[in-house]
Amino acid sequence: MLEPKTVLFLAAVLFSAGMYGVLSRRNMIMILMSLELMLNAVNISLVTYSRHWAGQGAGLMGSHSGQFFTLMVMAVAAAEVGIGLAIIVAIYRRTQTADADSAAELKN
């Protein structure tokens, strides 16, 4: 069985890679993909904690609350990708580019 520490390390690496992508990429598709990476890193850590604290919770969700949260994040992420891609298509139609920096009408 994997050590939680190892898995959390993996999650941290994935999160940082995603964050780097979000901050450094100019293409909006890439930004969206990096964002997915960050969300899934969080999912991994949630699942890890859920396993680690198994049997110690109480109530309806009990020790499995982390798993439920992961499912919810996936659903939200799917919706977010849907909206995000729609926005990107709309911007692309207007400016003929997917460069995030080009949408700077509110500058100053």
């Binding site: 901050l23 995030a100 920096d101 500058k107 100053n108």
Partner: protein, 686 residues
């Protein structure tokens, strides 16, 4: 006659001029001068007819107090004021003077203002003036009186500055308004003090001032110090409205307006308001002996002061204006001596002859303006008149009658009222009384002299102005001379309503000749009974033989003074060429002598006020303008705030780069910082 309740009729008296004002104010512009004048004169005349009808009632019966509940003006705490009207002998007399003489002046104005393009404005203001004055005298509380008090102040401003294209006129209007406002402040403070003491401002009714003062007197709860102050403060208001020292300066300038307006201000409305207020509040003033003394002294000083200034004025209207100030001084002298009935009697007789004199002078000016042009000062300069008797006989002889009354020639109306006032000062018996008597006598002497000086200069002698003006001078139209004739009849006989006790020694006999005096008695009875028996302010009831002998002597002295001085003044100024001799006496080697220049410049009072009040105020306001307005408000407050917002937003908007990644950086950094803080705090807690 319509079967209306008396309360409704009373409201109608006050409201008819207001309706006239509204009609002229809204539709007058498209009306002809005659029809707008007709509306104005008609509304006041109708008001007068109703007033006469109403008046027959209070002559014998109780007063009318109309105070419908739906006309509540304000109700706060202990103060409840309702726009009620109160008619008794005093307000009734004033109501008749205002509407009666007011109606004559309106009729006269139709002729006078025929060629003025602002006629509708003029008649609207004139009606508003009458309405305000009616509110002043008919109001059933001090606050309603104050409403009218302010109203006449406003209307005097509007009418004095009526020909507003001339800066001099608008300045005179502002002067009247500002000086009146100073007085109004005193009146307000006096009103507050009365409210403080008695807890009410209404006169009549169960909780009104009449009842409240009676109760306080009976219980010995009168605070004499407070009432002295209240009386003095209200007298300051009266000083402003009735042109007494030190607030008289506006009245001589008030002749800048059309001449009928001067007649209205000087005779029927406005200046008599101060006397009305003193007489109305007589039951308060009998408890304020020091204030009364001040009033008597100021009255006598004003009478003398204005009388001497009148001696040398060249402008026919200025002579009359100073005579008004002087006669008002006599009224205040009488009121200050406690003889309110004499003060009101003098208001009554003065209203006729002063309206007559002003309208007469207006007739002269009107006829000269035809040739000299409107607003030409020569049309008012008596040194450039003379011999107008042949051209304007009606104006001349009616003005002679008015002058006789003003000068106090025996058996005219002014003789009886002025003589009674002088005698009451004499009769007081102490040193102050004698001094006041002497001052009054000198003032009367001056009055007789300058009045007939005016007649001599204007109507007799030879013409000294331009030939063209004399050739075209003509008697005024009937709408102007008819009021003169009517007024001259009253100026002659009005005094017979109250013959002095020397002539009618037993007022109890119920003779018609003393009806006026007895008829006003209900107004004074409360104050008279509250006074101590030996008070100097008491109105005399009994006249023993010694008093009557003294009064005969007084009548003799004042008759001789009036007749001699009138003849003297007339003789000096009516002879052709005599003016040159008088001029030579006053002006030697091109320099006027000292007395003459002091009198001509009205004792330099205007200059003194300019130096003491106007200039410091102007300086202070200049300083305030520069320091407070320009620097603090404009620069620091208004522009400073705008500048701070602009500079800070200039800095702030640089943050908004518009690049999405920059926002994300900020977001990520923020998240890291927040997480770090959270961890730190969690660690501390653990």
């Amino acid at each position: 006659m319509l079967e209306l309740p008396k309360e409704t009729l009373l409201y109608l008296v006050a409201l008819l001029p207001l309706i006239g004002f509204l009609i002229n104010g809204f539709f007058g512009r498209s009306m002809s001068p005659t029809s707008s004048g007709g509306v104005a004169a008609g509304s006041v005349a109708a008001s007068f007819l109703i007033a006469v009808g109403l008046f027959v009632g209070p002559l014998q019966k109780a007063s009318i107090h109309a105070h419908p509940e739906f006309l509540t003006w304000m109700a706060t705490g202990g103060l409840k004021v309702n726009l009620g009207l109160y008619l008794d002998e005093l307000s009734g007399l004033y109501m008749l003077i205002i509407t009666g003489i007011g109606a004559l002046i309106h009729v006269y104005s139709i002729g006078y203002m025929k060629h003025d393009e602002g006629h509708w404005r003029y008649f609207a203001y004139l009606n508003l003036f009458v309405f305000s004055m009616l509110m002043l005298v008919l109001g059933d509380s001090l606050l309603t009186m104050f409403l009218g008090w302010e109203g006449v102040g406003l209307c005097s401003y509007l009418l004095i500055g009526f020909w507003y294209k001339d800066l001099k006129n608008t300045n005179a209007g502002m002067k009247a308004f500002i000086v009146n406002r100073i007085g109004d402040f005193g009146f307000m403070v006096g009103m507050f003090l009365v409210f403080w003491h008695f807890g009410t401002l209404s006169y009549a009714g169960g909780d009104g001032l009449f009842a409240s003062v009676r109760e306080s007197t009976a219980n010995g709860q009168i605070d004499h110090t407070l009432l002295n102050w209240a009386g003095l403060c209200m007298f300051v208001g009266a000083c402003g409205k009735s042109a007494q020292i030190p607030l008289f300066v506006w009245l001589p300038d008030a002749m800048a307006g059309p001449t009928p307006v001067s007649a209205l201000i000087h005779a029927a409305t406005m200046v008599t308001a101060g006397i009305y207020m003193l007489a109305r509040m007589n039951f308060v003033y009998v408890h304020a002996e020091q204030a009364m003394m001040v009033i008597a002294i100021i009255g006598a000083c004003t009478a003398l002061f204005a009388g001497t200034i009148g001696l040398v004025q060249r402008d026919i209207k200025k002579v009359l204006a100073y005579s008004t100030v002087s006669q008002l001084g006599f009224m205040f002298l009488a009121a200050g001596l406690g003889q309110f009935n004499l003060a009101v009697f003098h208001v009554f007789t003065h209203a006729f002859f002063k309206a007559l004199l002003f309208l007469g002078s207006g007739s002269v000016i009107h006829s000269l303006e035809h040739t000299l042009g409107h607003g030409n000062p020569d049309s008012q300069d008596m040194w450039k008149m003379g011999g107008l008797k042949k051209k304007m006989p009606v104006t001349c002889w009616t003005m002679v009658i008015g002058s006789m009354a003003l000068a106090g020639i025996p058996l005219t109306s002014g003789f009886f009222s002025k003589d009674a006032i002088l005698f009451s000062a004499f009769h007081r018996g102490d040193t102050l009384g004698m001094v006041l008597y002497g001052m009054g006598m000198v003032a009367a002497l001056c009055t007789a002299f300058y009045t007939f000086r005016m007649i001599g200069l204007t109507f007799f002698g030879s013409w000294r102005g331009s030939e063209a003006a004399y050739a075209h001078a003509d008697e005024s139209p009937a709408s102007m001379t008819l009021p003169l004739v009517i007024l001259s009849v009253f100026a002659l006989v009005a005094g017979l309503l109250w013959l002095p006790p020397a002539i009618v020694p037993h007022p109890e006999s119920g003779s018609i000749w003393v009806s006026f005096k007895h008829w006003l008695d209900p107004i004074w009875v409360q104050g008279q009974t509250a006074m101590s028996a030996d008070s100097l302010l008491r109105m005399p009831v009994e006249h023993d033989d010694a008093t009557i002998r003294a009064e005969w002597m007084n009548i003799g002295i004042s008759s001789v003074v009036a007749v001699v001085m009138s003849l003297f003044g007339f003789a000096v100024y009516s002879k052709p060429g005599s003016l040159e001799k008088v001029k030579a006496l006053a002006i030697r080697n091109g320099r006027p002598n000292l007395v003459y220049s002091i009198l001509l410049n009205k004792y330099y009072v205007d200059e003194l006020y300019d130096f003491l009040v106007v200039r410091p105020l102007k300086l202070a306001s200049d300083v305030l303008f520069v320091v407070v307005d320009v620097v603090i408000i404009d620069l620091i407050c208004v522009r400073g705030v705008a500048e701070i917002v602009r500079v800070s937003s200039d800095l702030g908007r640089r943050i908004q780069t518009g690049v999405v990644r920059h926002y994300l950086y900020a977001f990520a950094v923020g998240a890291v910082v927040l997480t770090a803080l959270f961890l730190l705090i969690a660690q501390r807690g653990a």
